[in-house]
């Protein structure tokens, strides 16, 4: 059963001088429930736009994206926000943690717009990623690796069916990258969440059974 289905997805950007630049043109892409897929993409290949389209952050020009039964591309913005809050977890390359909030609050924020804040679950997730003793620390009080773990916990906080990870190990050294990758994959497996991880690091890509090249999926070939 597919947790993600993409069909004839198209997206272009219009530059300030009126020039239209196609970024995404993907005929077909899908993932099964709990499946973990690595997506290889160079800088500027449109991989972030692709993830934004799947998450409903950006509206597609044409085509269809269905996440956990929700036809994202047919929804209005508020409906996409709601669907994202309930079904999608997102791990950013720069983690995008909120500086003014503790690790625990950052994780709880991941729940607040979806199923609702659950402190016990947030604490449990932080404990799972090894931050039991530091859940009240602010991001700037944590190491880069620890921030990465908070980001992972936040992405899983709303019990998503699909986790999107955009170069999650891009800011980590080799050792920490390996640990972070293992953590993300293990936690997704435990939560039965599918994982679509974008990277251009061969070591990361090799760890996945299924690895797709965005340059082969995307008929545009150039990104934003």
């Amino acid at each position: 059963m597919a947790v993600l289905s993409v069909v004839d997805l198209k997206k272009s950007y219009v530059s300030p001088d009126g020039e239209t630049t196609p970024v995404i043109d993907i005929e077909s892409f899908s993932m099964e429930v709990g499946e973990q897929v690595a997506l290889e993409g160079e800088s500027g290949s449109g991989k972030t736009t692709f993830l934004h389209l799947i998450a409903g952050i950006v509206k597609a020009d044409a085509g269809e994206v269905v996440v956990a039964g929700n036809a994202i591309t047919a929804m209005r913005e508020a409906e996409r926000d709601r669907a994202r809050a309930l079904n999608v977890g997102y791990v950013f390359q720069t983690f995008n943690l909120l500086d003014g909030y503790s690790a625990l609050e950052n994780v709880m924020l991941g729940m607040m717009f979806g199923p609702g804040a659950d402190r016990a679950k947030a604490e449990s997730l932080l404990e799972r990623v090894g931050l039991k003793e530091r859940m009240h620390y602010r991001p700037r009080q944590l190491s880069v690796g620890q921030q990465q773990r908070v980001a992972v916990a936040r992405a899983l906080a709303n019990g998503p069916r699909l986790v999107l990870a955009d170069e999650p190990t891009g800011n980590l050294d080799r050792t920490r990258a390996g640990e972070a990758l293992t953590l993300i994959r293990d936690v997704c497996t435990e939560q039965n969440a599918a994982l679509l991880l974008v990277s251009h690091n061969p070591a990361v890509l090799d760890a996945f059974d299924r690895c797709e090249r965005l340059s082969e999926l995307n008929h545009v070939g150039t990104g934003s």
């Binding site: 508020a78 943690l97 500086d99 709880m108 924020l109 717009f113």
Partner: protein, 412 residues
Amino acid sequence: MTGLVLLVRRSLAQHKLSTAVTVVAAALACGLVMSVFAITNQTREAFTSADVGYDAVLGARGSDLQLVLNTVYHLETSPGQIPWSLYQTVRKDPRVSLAIPYGVGDNFQGFRLVGTSEEIFSRFEYRSGRKFAFALGGAFDGRKREAVLGSFAADRTRLEVGDTFSPYHGLDYDPNAKHPEVYVVSGILEPTNSPNDRVIWIPLEGIWRMKGHVLRGAGEEYVAQPRVPIPDKHKQISAVMIKLRSPIGGMQLSQSINRGNLATFAWPLDRTMLMLFDKLFWFVIILQMVAYLVVAVATGAILASIYNTMNERRREFAILRSLGARRGTVFSAIVLESATIAALGGALGFGVYATILGAASVVIRNKTGVVLDVTASDPVLWAAPLGMVLLGAIAGLLPARNAYSTDVASNL
């Protein structure tokens, strides 16, 4: 809602300094509006209330307002004297239920001595159903040089029952104008929260017999001699405080007395004071305009403080949106934050209000005897904070619109 509260709380904590400054600005604005309206309303109520114990004042021909200020509020100088015979006539008038003579001309440490009859303690009600009560001692003996002090006068002069003092000529204290007569304090009144608290009551005879006082009731000058009864024809008083049996009587007396040239019958009292406040209306309007201006500045400060954080917060909004927050959620968070700053200001405004009203209360009581009540209810006490919150929310609309239109993809 929990999410919104967390967002607002964290944002306020992150911008502690600007939050504190704008909260103080809102508090000053809110407190100022509350104070201006409360002081205006309370002083107007205190000075125009018909419930001062009597309905009319009879005094020398002249200004109604001066007569009322002098007799009711113990302010201003007396417009002149009226003959004792007029008092006797009014007292016997069937339309008058109580007539109390009132004579002024001396003071002690700036507190005016009022010569009157013992009826002021036995029959006069300074408010409906409330007569003067003695905290210490008792009423003066009309045949002796005794005095009864209002509570405020006693507190300030530090005179106690049994103490003696000599009055000073005139209504303003002049150390060179000391009378030789010595008065004994026979009693001190309980506070009435009225101008009467500032008065030192003595027998009317004492005013007439004070050394240097000249009576002209019969047209010629007459100086009272010790132990010699004063003929009625020479007696004069400053005014008569009159309680009427009915308003119709007041109308009739007003028409008959005011038609002549001998005296002024000030009735009804509240109308006279209302005329004074109407004349001062422009001043009240200016005070209110200043208060509104401060509110406008505070509202602008709230707007500026939040608006200036918008650029640094675009990433925060984008992250929240990526987590599923709707545009409406971040919009609401900004409006709520702005309203919260205003609400905190409104809450602190009560402290500003209490401080201003407390200070004003001391000044007004010292000058007039009228007591302002910091705890008295007034619609402005809920309207001003609510208005401040509403203005705060409105001030948040512009930055909230910016937050609303934040592009998620380009700010992540």
